[in-house]
Amino acid sequence: MTVINSIKDPVAMTLVVVSQFDATPEQVWEVWEDARKLERWWGPPTFPATFARHDFVVDGQSRYYMTGPNGEQPHGWWRIRTIDKPHRIEFDNGLAGDDGEPMLGVDPMPSSVSFEAVDGGTRMTSVTFFTDVGQMAKMLEMGMQEGTEQAVGQIDALLSS
């Protein structure tokens, strides 16, 4: 099993996902650092990501877009705050407009990912902090899968009825 633990805290609007991989921390680090590897997993299978820019250094920025089944291309960006290879990455992940540049009025999500060598593998802990439900919904619309979208839509319908 890849995901071994998760904590969802709706009051703190924080998500923690802990996973374990059968590889060294250096190998797991590579899937973040190498843009060609990163784009193979960042987007859902139906919304593959393309990283047009990936400056994986402190204060470096990334620009990416995802391509949906109907040709839609939502854009996003990262700004790297901390890099401690191969232990920790901290970055902001935000929405971008059609020009690929950061969108004003939507706060980026601070995220941190840490890597720890454990027996026979690497434990990766990713923490995502949200500011409010509006931001969460906007970020989720990006490359959200049909099933997930429906589930959230059903909740909304339930709450507004």
């Binding site: 071994i4 998760s6 969802k8 709706p10 609007m13 923690v16 193979r40 802990t125 589930a151």
Partner: protein
């Protein structure tokens, strides 16, 4: 769902169901530290109390070992996140918990968790290919 069951959902001692298996939460120390640093206890406590009943900021402030302004600041953070609403009642501001926001936040976090589960599966595939090519 009652206010109480949401309080339980928000608690850290949670069990998650994944792939039809109930996994006892490993209280990973790192996770615990990050988590506690951010999920401010006073704020959580205020939120849980106003879910049960509306309370004035001054009533809340009486119960914490901190200034009225500090408590007001915590309420402000919750208000900006739409987790509470304030209602003027005479000279008092009554703070109420906003259950729909909590429900919506829970649903959105579930959806976001699914995205991460999928990402992790894709990462495992990439690492697996590398492993087998060696």
């Amino acid at each position: 769902m009652s206010a109480n069951s949401f309080t339980i959902c928000a608690a850290t001692e949670e069990r998650i169901t994944y792939n039809h298996m109930v996994v006892d939460k490993l209280m990973d120390r790192d996770v615990d530290r990050v988590f506690r640093a951010l999920a401010d206890r006073t704020r959580r406590d205020i939120f849980e109390r106003v879910l049960v009943t509306g309370l004035s900021v001054s009533t809340l402030a009486d119960d914490y070992d901190m200034s009225f302004a500090a408590v007001q600041k915590h309420v402000g953070v919750l208000e900006r996140a739409s987790l509470v609403t304030k209602q003027r009642q005479g000279r008092e501001q009554i703070v109420h918990g906003n259950i729909p926001t909590l429900q919506r936040a829970s649903a959105l976090l579930d959806a976001y968790e699914q995205i991460w589960i999928q990402r992790d599966q894709q990462i495992a595939e990439i690492l697996g290919e590398e492993g087998s090519s060696k």
